[in-house]
Each structure stands twice: as structure tokens, then as C-alpha cells.
């Protein structure tokens, strides 16, 4: 049994707990013992991306303390995992005492599909999901963590799942954290282009590795009264 610490992310905790529950089931099915350090809150990305690095450092400090001794930290989010991996060492570049810890925690932090495929070597979780599904590769998972084949491999192994390609899949959906509120109309225009491709794909379900992008996409689908549903990858992998 592989021990892992789940970093569930702030959005999942309060808005999409079913994604966290699915992530726990999937990890357990893959042979992990899941712990949930209850002192965790948010990785600080929302503040960091908006330029508030002091505030982000406070939250990053907390994350480092909470997960200092975790053997592996798994998050159902490419974006939060990327925040820890890419930016924590940057945030503490002038604080030698914390830099080592930041690097060490960063090296132990993984996005869920990344951990399953790259670390555990698992692609088939015995899931069944009878629907036509397309996949939006979230930017930070794709270009930050280099996740291309991992989520796709997991999806292909799901029974009764019909996979369809998403046109222009690698285009950003336009979420971008506070960007979606500050530049709401622009974010909406980028979203609209993404929704057009999702609907053109013929999928009944669009999936991704981040609830942040999915919150934006599903909000747009709902506003359009689209029949397409947005689900996190973990929810599909937990299907049986």
C-alpha cells in the first residue's frame, strides 16, 4: 500500500466535494492509503497569480508545514500541483531555510493522473463510464507539468467510454483565476470559443484535470443551456 497525502484544493473542498471523494476512491482503488491532513487550506495560487506574493507566501508557508513530511502529495488539480512545483521554489528563492523544504515538497507533489500513470504505472482502474467524452487539457497541467498522454491513457482504459477529440484542444479556456473577473468579457469570449469546440466534438461530457477550468466551462455550458456536462477526470475514473 502506497501512502499518499491528498491535497484536495480549496475549490474542491467547498464547491465540488464529490471530486475529492472520487479522487480518494480512485487512489484507494490504485492501491494507495490516503491521508487528508486537515490543516490544509489553499495553495495560494489565486493571490500569487494576481501579484500578491506576500499573501501567497503566507499560504505557501502553511502548505509547506502541513505537507513537510508527506511521502507523496496528490492533488486533483494540475494547476495547484504546478503552483507548488513551479512557483514555491521561486517564492522562497531568497529564504534559504525554506527553499530546501519548498524544493523537497515540490518534488513530492503530483497531479492525480500524473501520480497514477507516472508514479504508480497504473492506467486501468477498472472504471466503467458509458458516455461520449472529450478532454480539455488544462494549461498548467499541459504546459506546466507536461501532461499529455497520462489523462488520455486513463480515459482510454475506461469501459464503455467513447472518446472524441476536442478541436483546438490546447487553446486556453479563458479562466485564469481573477482574470475571469477582471477581464470578464474577454474571458467570456475565450470561453465561448472553447464551448463551440466542445459542442462541435459531439461529446456528452467534457472532462479535465482541474475544477477551476471546469467551473468556468460548466458555468458557460449552463448559461448556454447546453446538454453537455462537465466532469472532473476523477469522477469518470471513479465510475463503476
Amino acid at each position: 500500500m502506497k501512502p499518499v497525502a491528498l491535497f484536495v484544493t480549496c475549490l474542491v473542498d467547498q464547491l465540488y466535494p464529490r471530486v475529492g471523494e472520487a479522487a480518494v476512491r480512485v487512489l484507494e482503488r490504485a492501491g494507495c492509503t490516503v491521508a487528508f491532513p486537515e490543516e490544509q487550506t489553499c495553495c495560494g495560487q489565486a493571490a500569487f497569480n494576481n501579484g500578491f506574493q506576500e499573501e501567497a507566501r503566507v499560504l505557501a508557508r502553511r502548505f509547506l508545514d502541513v505537507f513537510a513530511d508527506a511521502p507523496a502529495i496528490v492533488a486533483p488539480s494540475g494547476s495547484c500541483a504546478d503552483m507548488v512545483r513551479e512557483w514555491y521554489p521561486h517564492l522562497f528563492r531568497d529564504a534559504p531555510a525554506l527553499l530546501d523544504l519548498a524544493r523537497s515538497v515540490a518534488s513530492r507533489t503530483f497531479e492525480l493522473s500524473e501520480y497514477l500513470v507516472r508514479v504508480l504505472g497504473v492506467t486501468d482502474l477498472g472504471a466503467r463510464f458509458p458516455a461520449t467524452v472529450t478532454y480539455h487539457p488544462s494549461c498548467h497541467g499541459l504546459r506546466g507539468l507536461g501532461l499529455r498522454d497520462e489523462p488520455l491513457g486513463l480515459l482510454r482504459a475506461v469501459r464503455d467510454l467513447r472518446f472524441v477529440e476536442l478541436p483546438a484542444a490546447e487553446q486556453c479556456c479563458g479562466f485564469g483565476g481573477f482574470f475571469s473577473i477582471k477581464f470578464a468579457a474577454l474571458s467570456g469570449a475565450m470561453l465561448s470559443a472553447k464551448l463551440d469546440t466542445i459542442e462541435a466534438s459531439g461529446a456528452e461530457v467534457v472532462t479535465a484535470t482541474d475544477v477551476s477550468c471546469l467551473m468556468h466551462i460548466s458555468g458557460g455550458l449552463s448559461r448556454r443551456c447546453s446538454r453537455v456536462r462537465a466532469l472532473h477526470l476523477a469522477e469518470i475514473l471513479a465510475g463503476s
Binding site: Q14, V24, G44, A47, N50, C139, Q171, F175, L191, M215
Partner: protein
């Protein structure tokens, strides 16, 4: 009056662009086509990644010893009979060039495409000095006729559909309405030929300046830069300090990455290597060659360790083509000569963060730009750094401070986070209908203007987790 007086109103510019259906249609066609062309051209080269590293390495090497290479370039050009002028800022550069035109009685000037001359607002200054200035790159010519500014580094008129160009030619040139791009190009060619023949001065930019030989390299596809440098009596070339390369051999890397990144070509159609003015016994080429080497904020950028990498930029436009924000906002929205991700870095750096405070924020940090940049500029990292500087210097808006302040207050401990959830669940009773929210008050109203918002779950994850642990699973 300063060149850049007021704060760029990015939000208003973007809203205007989003309402412009013809712009949206045009960009929606042009940008994906440019992206595909680049991707195909790059995929042909297995050595692409090593070319990028080599290019970045050469640029860094030059930047680390910039003054040495610039002095070498100056002495080579002087030895060849050319003249080098140093311009600290845009005003100095304009003064040097207008003085050159005035002192030599120049009335007619042709120009080939140059973003650096756009940066220094050269054309109005020359016109005020009594010269007629004509842009000879087709796209720039259209932009000039329309009284606009270029919206893209290498495709200045990418924002304008062909039909609008057809109308513009009818109106400005009095020609019949031609609709095919080839016909429009033929019309422009006929007009411009007379300009080339009559011009006394040709003004160009410089893609690369070779220190060891004093060679100025100009890359183009229309042949107009070659004519601009060959026919008029005087050639004035304008370059930023960062354009210098140590040796001719370096070109083999840069010509390949520039053509493929910029236009998806294997090679650009015309590459002119200009080494000095006309020599005794030669029959063509300019009698005088003047090279203006411009600082205009570049050495300040060079001294900035977090941002100096932006000086590697070779103005290929790949980051613009790839950027989903640029595609929807268009180049003009950025309020300055350099648009897109590189513009969001250069404009604050050159014109001041106060004026351009919103620019670093107009990105989702999707990193598509960083993936395609042929000289590996860490554009997302620089945007993040500029955002932090904006916040540190008190330029963040009241709304940002409030949103981030509330966020960090409530995420500082699990107890506060749970409290926020409880308060949110109470508050959302006022706005939620059927498990979703269609309208939120300020400062979140931007979200629901374009999307439905989710409701907070009745049972947070950590509550579920506790009860699951309690059950002993």
C-alpha cells in the same frame, strides 16, 4: 509633450475590440492559420529545440557583453564609410533622423517595415519636417493609408479584412474596387514603384547587426526593403541596442528560427546583408549609410535581472499568434506599439508600469507563448514578476486588494475556511436558484455576466472525510 502621457485604458480597448465583429472574424481566421503554419514548419526540424537553446544562448552571450559588441559594430561600420549615431531615447532618435533629412534637402522618403521606427513615432516627425514618407511594406502601406498603427509585429494589418482594404484603396487611391489580394498588391506595387524611384532617403529597421563585419541584415518577403536600401541616395537604418550579433555564422541559427516562427516559412524570401554604403567603383547602393542605435529604455531593461531576457526578442510574432488573449483583443487594445505577451512585458518596461499597470494582468498565464518563443523568453514568469511589482508599488486596484485580502484572510486556517463556507452557504440562499447562481453582486458580477456560478456544497469535503473516518470506513 511626452510620447506616452496617460494610462492605457485596457478594459475599454478590449471591450471595443470584442464588439468589433469584423475584427473578431478576421482574427479568428488569421490566428489559427498562423499557428498551424508555424507548427508545421517547426515539426519539420528535429533539431528545433536545440536551435532555440542556441539562439537564446547567443542572445544571452551578447547581452552579457553588449557594449563591447556595439563598439565593435560601430568601428566596423565607420571603417566601411558609414556613420553610427547613438540615440538615448525616441526624441533623440527623431531629432537625428529629421536633421539628416533636413540637412540633405530630402523631400521624399520611402520606408520598409520597422517596429523600432513605430516605437519612436518617426513618421509624424519627418512629415512635420516637410518630408513625404511612404511605407512600402504592403501591410504597413495599408496601415498608413488608413491612418492607423500596426497591430502585429510582422503582420501589421492582420486586424483588417481584405474587403476593408479593397474599400480603402478605392477611397484613397481612386482605383476600381479590386477584391483579390493579388490585385490589391499589384495596385500598391504600381503606386510604390514611383515612390521608390523618386525617394532620396530610404529608412529601414534592422533584424540583426553583425559586429565582426558591420553587416546589417534585413529579413523580408516583399523585396521592398531591398529596394528601400538600394535605390535612394541615403540609407538610414534604425536598430535597438539588442539587435547586435557577434558574427555572421550566428545568422544560420537566427534566420531559421525567425522564418519558421514568424511566418511558417522554411526561409524568408529576401535576406539582405548590407555591409557599408556604396564603395568606389560600385554602381549601386546608397552613397550614405547612417545607423541609429537606439536605447529608449533597453539598457534599463538590461540591468533588470528578472526582465532582461525580454531583450532576446527577435520580433517574430509567434507569441502573438499563439496568445488567446491577443486573438480576441487584437493588437491595438494593448495601447502601444508592442502588443501580445511580449508587449505586455515591454510596454511596462519601456513606458512605465504606472501607465501600463493593467497590461501584465491581461493573460491567463496559459504559457502558450513560452512554448513557442524561439528564443525561450520566460514571458509568463515576467508577467508574474510585473504583477508583483504593480502590487508592491501600490498600483493594484481597490477591488483586487479586497478580493485577495478576503481570500487570504479566509484561507489562513481551516477554521476560518470552514467559517467562510458557512457564511457563504447562508448568503447564497439569497441568490441561488435550482442549485446554481445566475447573478452575483459586485465584485463577482463579472463572473455571472458570462457564466453561471456554482453553489457551495452543502457538505464540504473535509466534513465528509471526518464522518468517513468516524465510521472507520
Amino acid at each position: 509633450m511626452p510620447d506616452h502621457p496617460t494610462r492605457i485604458d485596457l478594459i475599454r480597448n478590449i471591450e471595443r475590440a470584442l464588439r468589433d465583429e469584423s475584427l473578431q472574424r478576421q482574427m479568428g481566421k488569421a490566428m489559427p492559420a498562423s499557428r498551424r503554419a508555424r507548427a508545421d514548419a517547426v515539426a519539420e526540424l528535429p533539431e528545433w529545440e536545440s536551435l532555440r537553446s542556441a539562439a537564446a544562448g547567443i542572445k544571452d552571450h551578447v547581452l552579457a557583453d553588449l557594449e563591447k559588441y556595439l563598439r565593435q559594430l560601430e568601428s566596423q561600420i565607420s571603417a566601411l564609410g558609414g556613420t553610427v549615431h547613438w540615440a538615448f531615447d525616441a526624441a533623440e532618435a527623431r531629432a537625428i533622423i529629421t536633421d539628416l533629412a533636413r540637412s540633405r534637402g530630402v523631400r521624399r522618403i520611402v520606408k520598409s517595415k520597422s517596429m523600432t521606427t513605430e516605437e519612436i513615432f518617426l513618421n509624424p516627425a519627418l512629415e512635420a519636417a516637410g518630408a513625404r514618407v511612404v511605407e512600402t511594406d504592403l501591410g504597413e502601406y495599408v496601415v498608413q493609408l488608413a491612418g492607423e498603427r500596426p497591430s502585429h509585429l510582422i503582420a501589421p494589418v492582420v486586424h483588417k479584412p481584405t474587403e476593408e482594404i479593397a474599400d480603402l484603396f478605392v477611397k484613397k487611391l481612386g482605383v476600381p474596387r479590386y477584391e483579390r489580394p493579388e490585385e490589391l498588391a499589384r495596385v500598391a506595387r504600381e503606386v510604390l514603384r514611383a515612390e521608390f524611384l523618386a525617394a532620396e532617403m530610404g529608412i529601414t529597421g534592422v533584424n540583426f547587426a553583425i559586429a565582426e563585419s558591420g553587416t546589417l541584415v534585413i529579413v523580408e518577403n516583399e523585396g521592398n526593403a531591398r529596394l528601400t536600401t538600394a535605390r535612394p541616395r541615403i540609407h538610414v537604418a534604425v536598430m535597438g541596442v539588442e539587435k547586435v550579433l557577434p558574427q555572421l555564422a550566428d545568422l544560420s541559427v537566427f534566420l531559421r528560427i525567425l522564418a519558421r516562427s514568424g511566418t511558417g516559412q522554411r526561409a524568408s524570401v529576401y535576406v539582405s546583408l548590407l555591409t557599408g554604403p556604396r564603395r568606389a567603383g560600385e554602381t549601386d547602393g546608397p552613397e550614405e549609410l547612417h545607423l541609429i542605435i537606439l536605447d529608449n529604455g533597453r539598457r534599463r531593461l538590461l540591468a533588470d535581472p528578472d526582465l532582461r531576457g525580454a531583450l532576446r526578442c527577435i520580433r517574430c510574432g509567434a507569441c502573438q499568434n499563439e496568445c488567446p488573449v491577443y486573438q480576441h483583443a487584437g493588437g491595438h487594445a494593448y495601447g502601444s506599439v508592442y502588443a501580445g505577451p511580449i508587449g505586455a512585458v515591454l510596454t511596462p518596461a519601456y513606458e512605465g508600469l504606472e501607465r501600463a499597470r493593467d497590461l501584465p494582468f491581461v493573460s491567463t498565464l496559459c504559457r502558450a507563448c513560452a512554448d513557442v518563443c524561439p528564443v525561450k523568453i520566460d514571458l509568463p514568469g515576467m508577467l508574474v514578476e510585473l504583477r508583483a511589482r504593480a502590487v508592491r508599488t501600490g498600483l493594484a486596484s481597490w477591488r483586487d486588494r479586497m478580493l485577495v485580502g478576503a481570500w487570504t484572510f479566509f484561507t489562513r486556517s481551516p477554521a476560518r475556511f470552514m467559517l467562510a463556507g458557512s457564511l457563504g452557504r447562508l448568503a447564497q440562499r439569497l441568490v441561488a436558484r435550482g442549485g446554481k447562481i445566475e447573478r452575483l453582486p459586485y465584485p463577482l458580477s463579472g463572473w455571472t455576466a458570462h457564466r453561471t456560478a456554482p453553489v457551495l456544497a452543502s457538505t464540504p469535503f473535509r466534513t465528509w472525510w471526518k464522518s468517513r473516518q468516524g465510521e472507520g470506513r
